[in-house]
C-alpha cells in the first residue's frame, strides 16, 4: 500500500515538472504584461515539433535540441510582443483575449494543415528505460525532464532576482507606472518577458518529446493544468505556479489511483475550489514575485 502511494507521488511529481514549465510561462506573462496567453499550449506544440524534426532529420537528441527550440521560441516571443501584443496593450481586456485566442487557433490549424493530425514519436535509448528502486520505478526520460524543468525554473528565479533586467521585470510587474518613471522601457521588458515565457514552453516541448507523442492538439493536454496552477499559485507568482504545478501533478496521480482513472481532474479542481474559498488570491496570498 505504501509502495502504491509512493509510486503515485513519484508519478505526480514527475509530470508536475512539465506542468510547471508551462504554467511558469503563463504566470510570467500575466505578471509582467498583464495579459492571459491562451496560445501557450501551442508554443509547447511548436517546441515538440522542432525537437521532432531535429531528431528525425539530423539525429539530434530531443533533450539536446532544447538549445535550438528555446532560442527560436524566444525570438518568436519577442516578435509577437513587438508586432502584435504591443498594439493592443492599454486598451480594455477584450482585444488582448481575442488576440492570444486567435493566435492559438491560427497556430493549431496551421499545424493541422502543414503537419497533419498524425502522432509523431521520437524514440531515444532512454525513452523506455526506468530506474528501479525496490518496488518503485522512475522513468528516465521523465526524470531528466523533471530535473531540467527544475533547473530552468531555478535559473529564471536567479535571473529575476539578481540581474538588472530581471529586477526591471519585477518592477514593471509590481507598478508599471513607477517603473516607467524610473527609466525602465516597458516594451523592452515585455519583449524579454514574452520571449522567456515562450522559451520555457519550447523547453517543455523538447523535454516532452522523448516520452510523449507530438500532434497539433497536444498543447491542450497541458495548458488546462497550467491555467489551474497559475490561479492556484497566485496569478503572476512564479514560485507559486511552480509549487502549485507539482501539487496538482501529485493530486491528479493520487486521484487516479484512489478515486478513479476518469476522475483525476476532479481532485485537482476540488483542490482549486477549496484553495480559492480559503485563500481567494491563491496559495501565495496575492503576492507577486
Amino acid at each position: 500500500m505504501l509502495e502504491i502511494v509512493a509510486q503515485a507521488v513519484i508519478n505526480g511529481l514527475l509530470i508536475g515538472g512539465i506542468y510547471a514549465l508551462v504554467s511558469i510561462g503563463v504566470t510570467l506573462i500575466f505578471g509582467v504584461i498583464k495579459i492571459v496567453n491562451f496560445a501557450q499550449g501551442e508554443f509547447v506544440m511548436i517546441g515538440m515539433y522542432i525537437s521532432f524534426f531535429l531528431a528525425t532529420q539530423f539525429g539530434i537528441d530531443p533533450i539536446v535540441s532544447l538549445i535550438v527550440s528555446m532560442p527560436v521560441l524566444f525570438v518568436v516571443g519577442v516578435l509577437i510582443q513587438h508586432f502584435l501584443i504591443r498594439r493592443v496593450l492599454g486598451l480594455n481586456d477584450l482585444p488582448q483575449i481575442f488576440l492570444t485566442f486567435a493566435l492559438s487557433l491560427l497556430i493549431l490549424n496551421l499545424a493541422l494543415m502543414l503537419l497533419t493530425a498524425n502522432y509523431r514519436t521520437v524514440h531515444t535509448w532512454y525513452s523506455d528505460e526506468a530506474l528501479h528502486l525496490g518496488g518503485l520505478y522512475i522513468p528516465v526520460a521523465k526524470l531528466i525532464a523533471f530535473v531540467l524543468a527544475m533547473v530552468l525554473s531555478g535559473l529564471l528565479w536567479v535571473f529575476l532576482h539578481t540581474t538588472d533586467l530581471g529586477k526591471a521585470m519585477r518592477a514593471a510587474a509590481q507598478k508599471p507606472e513607477v517603473a516607467m518613471l524610473m527609466g525602465i522601457n516597458p516594451n523592452r521588458v515585455f519583449c524579454v518577458a514574452l520571449g522567456i515565457a515562450l522559451a520555457l514552453a519550447g523547453a517543455a516541448g523538447s523535454l516532452l518529446m522523448p516520452f510523449y507523442p507530438a500532434y497539433p492538439m497536444v498543447g491542450q493536454v497541458f495548458v488546462l493544468m497550467a491555467f489551474v496552477a497559475v490561479v492556484l499559485g497566485t496569478l503572476g507568482n512564479v514560485v507559486g505556479a511552480l509549487i502549485a504545478s507539482l501539487m496538482m501533478g501529485v493530486a491528479e496521480s493520487l486521484g487516479i489511483q484512489f478515486v478513479g482513472a476518469d476522475s483525476g481532474l476532479i481532485v485537482v479542481f476540488m483542490m482549486l475550489l477549496l484553495t480559492l474559498a480559503v485563500r481567494p488570491s491563491g496559495l501565495a496570498g496575492g503576492r507577486v514575485r
Binding site: T121, A130, Y137, P139, P213, A261, D262
Partner: protein
C-alpha cells in the same frame, strides 16, 4: 445537374449531343466524378465513402488506394461479363471524418450519380449514417464496419465480416493463450466507443471463464499513463485489454515497459491493427495482440493482393483495406449474377451471394453468405499479433499462420 441534363441532351441534335458529350468527358477528366463512356458496354458505377481528409485521413487514404486496386483487378479480369464486359468505375466521395458531411456526401453521391452499389465508411459512426441514407435511397451498401447496429432493421446493408460482439468474444478467448486462468484488467476511455466495447467484454467474460480483476474508465488524452498503470499493477492482472485510441495506447505501452510489468496487452481492433501503429510505437509493439476482421496472411489470394498493395503504397494491406478488396469482388459477383446495373437487382443478387473461393471469399474462414440481417453467417474475427513489424494471424487455431510469440 448531371442526370436531368444528360437525358435532355439525348433528345437534341446529334452534333450538339456530340459537343455536350465531349464537354462532359472533359469535365470528367477535370473532376473525376463523372463516368466516362467507353466504346463497348457502359461502365458500372460503384460509390465509395471514406474520410480522405480530417482526423482519419491517413487511414482513409490507405483504404481508397485499396478500393482503386480492387476495381483495377476486376477490370483487368474482364470486367462484368454478363454486362458485355462492362468496366467497373469507382466514384470516391470524401466524408472528411465528419458525421454531418457524411450525411450530405452520401446523399449527394447517390443522387448525382447512376450507381449500382456503394461501400464505406471505415468508422462505424459514419457508416451508421451512410447506411440510413442508403436504405432510404434503396442503394445496397457493403461495409467492414463492425457495429452490431448495422444489422438491425436494414435490408440494403451488408456486413461480410465479424461483428463487434464477436470481437469481444475472440479477445476474451485470446487471453487464454497466455495462461489457463487469465486475470484481465480492462481499461477504456470514457467515450461511447470505449464504454460500449468494454461493456461487451464484461458481459461475455463469465461465459468464457475469464476473470476481470479491474474494470476502469479513464479520461482520454491524459498527460501521463503512470498512475493508471500503477493501478493495473496493483490489481494483479496478467492480461491487459486497452480500449483506447492511438495516443493513449502509445503512452500505456511505453509505461508498461518502464514499469517492467509482465502482462499480455490486447489492443482490440481499429487503430491498433494499422501500419501506422507500428510506425509510432516501434519495437515496443512487438508481441502486442489484437483482433481483426481481415488479415493479409489468411490465404494465397490475400497474400497476392498484399504484395501488389505493398508495391504501390509501401505498407502492408491492413484489415479494413484488405476487407474492402473482398467487398469489391462481392459486388462484382452480384453484378455478374444480376446481369444488370440496377441497384435493386444488385441488392437481390447480394442476398443470394454464396462464395467460397476467389477474391470475394477473402474472409476468415473463406466463406461469405449473407443472412436476412445482412450479416455474413460464416463471419468471425482473427486474433493477430505484431511480429517483426508485421501482423500475424495467431488465433483461432485453424486460422493461425504463425505461433504466438510469448512476451
Amino acid at each position: 445537374m448531371k442526370r436531368s441534363q444528360r437525358q435532355t441532351t439525348l433528345k437534341r441534335h446529334s452534333r450538339r449531343k456530340f459537343l455536350k458529350a465531349a464537354g462532359s468527358a472533359m469535365a470528367a477528366g477535370a473532376f473525376g466524378a463523372y463516368p466516362l463512356r467507353g466504346w463497348a458496354a457502359d461502365p458500372v458505377n460503384i460509390g465509395g465513402l471514406y474520410p480522405v481528409t480530417g482526423s482519419m485521413a491517413q487511414i482513409g487514404v490507405g483504404i481508397v488506394a485499396a478500393a482503386k486496386l480492387a476495381v483495377e483487378m476486376v477490370n483487368e479480369a474482364g470486367g462484368i461479363k454478363s454486362l458485355g464486359g462492362a468496366k467497373m468505375n469507382l466514384i470516391i466521395s470524401d466524408i472528411q471524418s465528419d458525421t454531418t458531411v457524411t450525411r450530405t456526401e452520401t446523399d449527394r453521391l447517390i443522387s448525382s450519380n447512376k450507381l449500382s452499389a456503394i461501400h464505406g465508411c471505415f468508422a462505424s459512426a459514419f457508416t451508421l449514417i451512410a447506411s440510413e441514407v442508403a436504405e432510404r435511397a434503396k442503394m445496397p451498401l457493403l461495409t467492414g464496419s463492425s457495429s452490431d447496429q448495422l444489422n438491425k432493421g436494414r435490408s440494403y446493408t451488408f456486413t461480410p465480416f465479424a461483428r463487434a460482439s464477436q470481437f469481444a468474444k475472440a479477445q476474451l478467448q485470446m487471453s487464454k493463450l497466455v495462461g489457463d486462468s487469465p486475470k484481465v484488467a480492462v481499461i477504456f476511455e470514457n467515450t461511447a466507443f470505449g464504454t460500449s466495447t468494454s461493456n461487451g467484454l464484461k458481459e461475455l467474460a463469465p461465459g468464457e471463464g475469464v476473470e476481470i480483476v479491474m474494470f476502469e474508465p479513464y479520461s482520454a488524452g491524459f498527460a501521463d499513463a503512470g498512475p493508471l498503470i500503477n493501478k493495473v499493477k496493483a490489481s494483479g492482472a496478467n492480461a491487459l485489454f486497452s480500449v483506447s485510441y492511438l495516443n493513449d495506447l502509445i503512452l500505456i505501452v511505453r509505461t508498461v515497459k518502464q514499469v517492467g510489468l509482465n502482462i499480455a496487452i490486447n489492443g482490440g481492433s481499429g487503430g491498433f491493427v494499422i501500419p501506422d501503429f507500428y510506425k509510432n510505437v516501434g519495437k515496443l509493439a512487438e508481441g502486442l495482440q489484437g483482433v481483426a476482421h481481415w488479415n493479409h496472411d489468411m490465404d494465397a489470394n490475400a497474400q497476392k493482393v498484399n504484395v501488389e498493395y505493398k508495391k504501390r503504397t509501401g505498407d502492408f494491406l491492413f484489415e479494413y483495406a484488405g476487407g474492402l478488396v473482398a467487398q469489391t469482388f462481392m459486388i462484382a459477383d452480384a453484378l455478374e449474377r444480376a446481369g444488370s446495373a440496377d441497384p435493386q437487382k444488385v441488392r437481390d443478387a447480394l442476398t443470394t451471394l454464396d462464395v467460397s473461393s476467389g477474391y470475394a471469399a477473402m474472409a476468415p474462414g473463406g466463406k461469405v453468405k449473407f443472412g436476412p440481417d445482412g450479416k455474413n453467417i460464416y463471419g468471425y474475427p482473427v486474433g493477430v499479433q505484431w511480429q517483426n513489424g508485421d501482423l500475424a494471424s495467431v488465433f483461432p487455431k485453424a486460422d493461425a499462420r504463425a505461433p504466438l510469440m510469448k512476451t
